[in-house]
């Protein structure tokens, strides 16, 4: 499996390639089943003990529970768990696919919206709205209502992705070290600007920002799905058409252009999709790290670098991973909750180190 990081799919179709495609289809199908299982888990577990079967029974008129209990179970399932599950699927898929798109775009397995400063840019947009939304930016927030925060986060993510791309790419070549260092610089700048806002924030806003920075799906409501869901869904929809272009791009921009990929348009579409999915996710759930880097890595190890399978598999596993992480976050210290960013980092950090150690000798980054 040492060839998985060389990212040259479809160049020499042969027996190995055929096996990979076969494996890819099996993994995608398996992950679809796993996602359904995770959705069921998400709907059936929770601190309150409300059961889906109770609600189903209630709908069909054979609920054994008291009316009050049935009403409460219904509220838990419909107004707490269901929006949370939907948001978890969207954000998990969105963050994982963002990571994959960035890795394809920069032709670098280390690229991740969190590592290269895009999340910091989105955070800056969101923090700006949280701190100034009631005062200096009141006309903006009043005009856009619940959409102000996702849009600001989207704008911040878009701006940082664009700057990163311009800084790190020269003549169609993206220098890896330049990209990572530019990401650090952009993250630092966005962090500094956030810091200024933090300084003028009230103590209550500070406390909110702190928890927001650790990430959580706890605030999931139908309203938030309405605000952020379409942006993430649109980004995933765009990404679905990019897999062939991503495959071609692994051979270099010039070759990709010769293969008929409209490289410039393609890159813009990918950047906008990354900014959209990351920005909207950051806006509603705060900082959830490591999904974008760990999920594509793991899958590339298993099914190889062909984006036709990698892309759907990444979306499915991202959603599944986040639903599992969320299930842990809301049960491990019940009735209180652990911020989900802590859970994903606790799993993702060691896993990422393990990948690095395993591939230390094979890689030529």
């Amino acid at each position: 499996m040492t060839d998985t990081m060389t990212m040259q799919p479809g160049v020499r179709p042969g027996r190995a390639e055929g096996d990979r495609s076969h494996l890819g289809r099996i993994v995608v199908a398996g992950l679809a089943v796993a996602l359904v299982a995770a959705m069921v888990l998400s709907m059936t577990t929770g601190a309150s003990g409300a059961s889906v079967w109770g609600v189903v029974g209630q709908l069909f008129g054979f609920a054994p529970e008291s009316a009050a209990q049935a009403a409460r179970d219904h509220a838990v399932i419909v107004n707490i768990r269901l929006p949370r599950m939907i948001l978890g699927v969207l954000i998990g898929a969105g963050l994982a696919v963002s990571g994959l798109l960035m890795q394809g775009l920069f032709r670098n397995p280390l690229a991740d919206p969190g590592l290269v400063g895009v999340s910091a840019g989105s955070s800056l947009g969101a923090v700006t709205i949280i701190v100034l939304g009631g005062t200096a930016l009141a006309p903006f927030t009043e005009a856009l209502g619940i959409f102000a925060l996702p849009l600001a986060a989207f704008g911040g993510g878009l701006a940082t992705t664009f700057v990163l791309y311009r800084v790190a790419t020269k003549g169609g070549q993206t220098a890896i070290a330049t990209m990572l260092l530019a990401g650090i610089a952009i993250a630092a700048l966005a962090g500094a600007l956030s810091g200024v806002l933090v300084y003028i924030a009230s103590d209550n806003q500070l406390r909110d920002l702190t928890f927001w920075g650790m990430g959580s799906l706890a605030g999931a409501t139908w309203i938030k799905i309405l605000a952020a869901g379409p942006i993430i869904a649109a980004a995933l929809f765009v990404a679905a058409f990019l897999s062939k272009g991503l495959n071609a791009l692994t051979l270099g921009e010039a070759t990709a252009a010769h293969l008929g990929v409209p490289v410039q348009k393609f890159k813009i579409a990918a950047i906008v999709a990354v900014a959209g999915a990351t920005g909207a996710s950051v806006a509603v759930s705060g900082g959830i790290g490591f999904v974008g880097i760990v999920v594509p890595h793991l899958l590339r190890l298993v099914i190889g670098p062909d984006h036709r399978y990698l892309l759907p598999a990444t979306a499915l596993l991202g959603a599944t991973f986040l639903l599992f992480a969320d299930a842990i976050s809301r049960t491990i210290v019940a009735p209180a909750e652990l911020p989900i960013g802590i859970v994903t980092a606790a799993f993702g950090g060691p896993f990422f180190l393990w990948i690095l150690l395993r591939r230390r000798n094979a890689l030529s980054w």
Partner: protein, 290 residues
Amino acid sequence: MMRFSSSFAAALMAASLFTPALSAAELEKFADPSRLVSIGGSLTEIIYALGAEELLVARDQTALYPPEVMELPDVGYARQLAPEGVLSVGPTALLVLEGSGPPEALDVLEGAGVEYQTVPESYSAEGVLVKVDEVGAALGLGEKADAYRAGLEAEFAALAERTGAIETPKRILFILSNQGGQIQASGTGTAADGMIALAGAENVITEFEGYRPLSEEAITAAAPDAILMMDRGGDHAATDAELLAHPAISLTPAGQNKAIFRLEGSYLLGFGPRTAAAANELADLLYGKP
């Protein structure tokens, strides 16, 4: 992102103690307070003081007193409530201190059939009395609350008489944290500011609201007579020795007289039933026992 959030670490405690004062809204008796969740340490203390603790089924992270309360399940941090976690204790009523939330969590809880009411927060003797009134009204314990309030009022009156006689109020610097020599101090509008006033002293920092990092020169210029801190039990991050070695603090009267006073956090800053006692104890530390 995690780096970004860690920069707020020092503000963590700060924000939990500060909410802007609002006027009292009259609460009504809960339809069914038999399974009550109280969010806010001071409210929980008042519920115990009114002898209504058998109603309580859960508490939040800030409820640390009386010690028995620790046996109740903890539904988490007051400003970051997870609706399902709260529902899991089967509450019929939710009494929350102003600033708890987030609002959408409270809306979801209300939608699930849990009645909630918000008690206003204010860092004054009046604020404590209002809390007692409101908790009494919400639990249908008006008479008990009136009797208890009368006792508290007497305590506050005695305290006011004592502090009114102080001719030269001590000038106090409240330090929230001392992380690597960076002092986070209390300005106006905080629980610490309210407590300093109750104890008959003056807050040296009036230039800003809330808790902010203070420059070394500002500390020296403020020249506090004494430093007040929360006692967090073996606070290795800010020992007296470290504070006294701080170059700016060592130049102040407080530093030279080693006048550093610590009281337990929820006692000092909770603005609940023990507030008059805490203010008296602080006055004892500052001016000696009467």
